[in-house]
């Protein structure tokens, strides 16, 4: 892939090319503020960052790296509000464990301990709660973490969707690991651990009653094992990222913006299961923007790409890993562009950050 980019010029990393996006003309929280796209970024930069400002938070990673005595630990938290609570491939419980495990794992840490808080709605069946908690226990065991503290609150009927869960976690670092989106460099290779869009489309299909010959199953999975496999194969790995809300497109744009580089994707290389592709077509949604809960993107130096790919394919959650693109320098011609994709027809298009929620199209 690198031969295409040899003539591109690298601009100084101080140049910033993302203007602050204007706040949508609203004095209230919109559903799009939770979509993981521009509106979410806007909420963070306008409302949260000014009040919480510190060096750890400024990195805007899913997990913070902080000192605990002489050791460095990773710290992450995540809230889960999925509806329906049970969906093909999982439920809110294993999602809540895997989500925080993955946030920690993408920082390069080995997840160790989790906490869990529950906001339960009056009237939730205890059998459902037990099914959720049971799958949390199994997910924790699978990921090699322990849930060591928790809290429970109950709200009146009608004031919640049955069950909300928030988890937080800590992880420990092996020596020498330093992952940071700012480390992505022109020439690096972008790897993807498997097919995209399953989680988001599984949820949407259940919500909207769409049925396919083979049901779409969420990919919810713990990625700490795969992350450690990658780091063993390539300790120089630049970035790991799990493309959850906002999908692969948003994750790559955020990385490109943080590093001051561009990323080029190959449309034909991005794997999408046929039922997911079909559901996306029906609803007019681009799979690049759809949430994943068991996939990761790895950006690695070009010389290590083959070894990392081979190692990923040996792992349970990386069997379908592929090279999907490359990091390029920012050329002057494309000074405002973070992510482009060569289409299957050989043309090229720019991939933008989504605004808010993906809205199904009329026809």
């Amino acid at each position: 892939m690198n031969r295409h980019q040899s003539d591109e010029r690298v601009l100084p990393s101080t140049v910033t090319w993302s203007c602050p996006t204007p706040l949508v003309n609203s004095d209230r929280v919109l559903i799009g503020h939770g979509g993981g796209g521009k509106l979410t970024a806007d909420l963070i930069s306008r409302i949260f960052l000014p009040h919480f400002k510190n060096a750890h938070l400024d990195r805007l990673c899913d997990a913070a790296t902080v000192a605990a005595g002489s050791a460095q630990v990773a710290l992450a938290t995540d809230a889960f509000v999925v509806r329906p609570l049970f969906f093909p491939g999982g439920n809110i419980g294993d999602l809540a464990v895997n989500g925080t495990v993955n946030d920690l794992a993408m920082s390069g840490a080995v997840p160790r301990y989790l906490t869990a808080s529950f906001v339960l709605e009056e009237g939730l069946l205890l059998s459902e709660l037990e099914a959720i908690v049971g799958s949390m226990g199994r997910a924790a065991k699978r990921a090699g973490v322990e849930i060591v503290a928790g809290d429970t609150k109950v709200v009146e009927r009608g004031r919640g969707d049955g069950c909300y869960i928030s988890t937080a976690g800590v992880g420990a670092f092996a020596p020498g690991i330093d992952l940071d989106p700012r480390h992505a460099q022109p020439g690096d290779v972008v790897l993807l651990s498997g097919t995209i869009g399953e989680h988001g489309m599984a949820i949407m299909s259940v919500r909207e009653g769409l049925e396919f010959e083979s049901p779409i199953v969420s990919d919810s999975a713990p990625l700490n094992g795969l992350a450690q496999t990658i780091l063993r194969a390539c300790p120089d790995t630049r970035v790991l990222r799990d493309p959850t809300r906002g999908g692969v497109a948003t994750a790559l744009i955020e990385i490109a913006q943080a590093a001051g580089v561009g990323i080029q994707l190959e449309e034909t290389a991005v794997p999408v299961q046929p039922p997911v592709a079909a559901a996306c077509e029906l609803l007019g949604i681009d799979p690049l923007y759809v949430a994943n809960e068991g996939k990761l993107l790895a950006i690695v130096p070009p010389d290590d790409a083959d070894a990392v790919l081979a190692a990923m394919r040996q792992h349970e959650y990386g069997r379908e890993a592929v090279v999907v693109g490359a990091v390029v320098g920012r050329s002057e011609l494309e000074s405002s562009v973070a992510l482009t994709m060569r289409t299957s027809l050989g043309a090229r298009r720019v991939i933008s950050m989504p605004i808010g929620e993906q809205l199904p199209r009329i026809c």
Binding site: T21, P22, V24, N25, S26, R28, V29, L30, I31, G32, K38, L39, E208, F212, T268, P274, P275, A277, A278, E281, L283, G284, L333, S336, V337, T340, T343, S344, L345, G346, A347, R348, R349, V350, S352, I355, L359, P360, R361, I362, C363
Partner: protein, 369 residues
């Protein structure tokens, strides 16, 4: 799903592109009528593969884009009534009215729901007899049959709490309006395949005869669009004005007669305002007298709603193919998908949104491949 990969084959696409280059000897300007085609063209980069002297202009066939601002304002006003459960297709929720959109109305407390079919709205009405369920019935001939079905079903079920806020538009009067505009540049049309699935293509024959403009019924996948372009260029180069059907796997000559009969039973033609284009005679459908009791406009009094269009937005000229999105001074500055001034920036099918999302912020510098 079948019909995805078969019609995205890059080798066949390259062959069609070469064929288009071979047959094109002079500059031509053609309009793809449907927003879905615009989306496919931009998403796949089809325009980048065409000869430089072949210009595609993006037509008014995006229902979200042409729905007038006063309909959006009335929708918001109706949705704000406490007894109303307001149902709409997803992308209508972000279309800006005079002061806001339906998503903001929802954040402020209105019960606004996304449905995938008007029949879902009927189901909601049956389930919630204490609520007034209103469906925003917009779109071209493509969505009209299902909307008509919803009304018929509601009557069959004896529902008195279901109504439609109707803003339906028809393609042929819009094509006539475009051809009679004094400064129009369009020399041929790629007609909207899915509209023709319902209506057939024979209603285009008088347009072809009167304005001597060739029309090719065209689908939406990359190979469909390229084939439509190839056939339209061939007609233009040979000076033929006729209708050709390049989407015959979905479109038959007479269209879907059952669907047409359902439309005729429930709707009647009316003069209609198109956002950005103004009023076009007989270009819309409203509920027929026999179904007037399902008309949300009559059921809810929102006559005091005042509507106002942006004065700097040039979406009307974009819809007519007179300018490209990047030629509007507001494009990418005051007007972005986050803060759309005109509906062509709102819908993912709108020409401005397609140009913005896929990075066409300025005039292309020529072919990339």
């Amino acid at each position: 799903m079948k019909y995805l990969h078969e019609f995205r084959n890059s080798r066949q696409a390259q062959a069609l592109v070469q064929s288009i280059h071979r047959v094109t000897t002079r500059p031509w300007t053609m309009m793809e009528v449907c927003g879905g085609q615009t989306h496919s063209i931009i998403r796949n980069g089809i325009d980048q593969l065409l000869p430089d002297n072949l210009e595609l202009v993006h037509g008014p066939g995006c229902p979200v884009c042409v729905t007038p601002v006063k309909v959006i304002d009335r929708a918001i006003a109706i949705a704000a009534q406490p007894e109303v459960m307001f149902c709409s297709f997803g992308d209508m929720l972000r279309v800006p009215g005079t002061t806001g959109d339906l998503l903001q109305a929802r954040a402020a407390g209105a019960d606004v729901r996304i449905v995938y079919s008007p029949l879902d709205a009927v189901t909601l009405a049956k389930k919630h007899p204490d609520r007034q369920v209103v469906f925003l019935a917009i779109g071209f001939e493509t969505t009209a049959p299902a909307n008509a079905m919803a009304v018929k079903l509601a009557r069959q079920l004896g529902l008195t709490n279901f109504s439609l806020l109707v803003s339906h538009v028809r393609v042929p009067p819009a094509l006539r309006a475009l051809m009679t505009a004094p400064d129009h540049r369009v020399q041929g049309f790629l007609a909207a395949g899915h509209v023709c699935t319902v209506m057939g293509w024979q209603e285009y024959l008088p347009i072809v005869a009167q304005y001597e403009v060739p029309i090719v019924v065209t689908g939406f996948e990359p190979l469909d669009v390229l084939e439509g372009i190839r056939r339209l260029v061939t007609l233009l180069e040979s000076g033929q004005s006729c209708v050709e059907n390049a989407y015959d796997r979905a479109v038959v000559d007479q269209g879907n007669k059952l669907a047409q009969a359902t439309i005729r039973e429930v709707f009647q033609t009316t003069d209609c305002e198109w956002r950005g284009l103004g009023v076009i005679p007989q270009s819309g459908w409203c509920l027929a007298d026999a179904y007037a009791d399902f008309d949300a406009d009559k059921r809810f009094d929102v006559s005091e709603v005042q509507s106002e269009e942006s004065t700097i937005c040039r979406s009307g000229e974009v819809l007519c193919g007179l300018i490209k999105p990047y030629e509007c001074a507001a494009f990418g500055h005051q007007c972005t998908p986050e803060t759309p001034l005109g509906a062509t920036m709102v819908s993912s099918e709108g020409a401005c949104a397609a140009y913005y999302l896929y990075g066409r912020h300025e005039k292309p510098r020529g072919s990339i491949v």
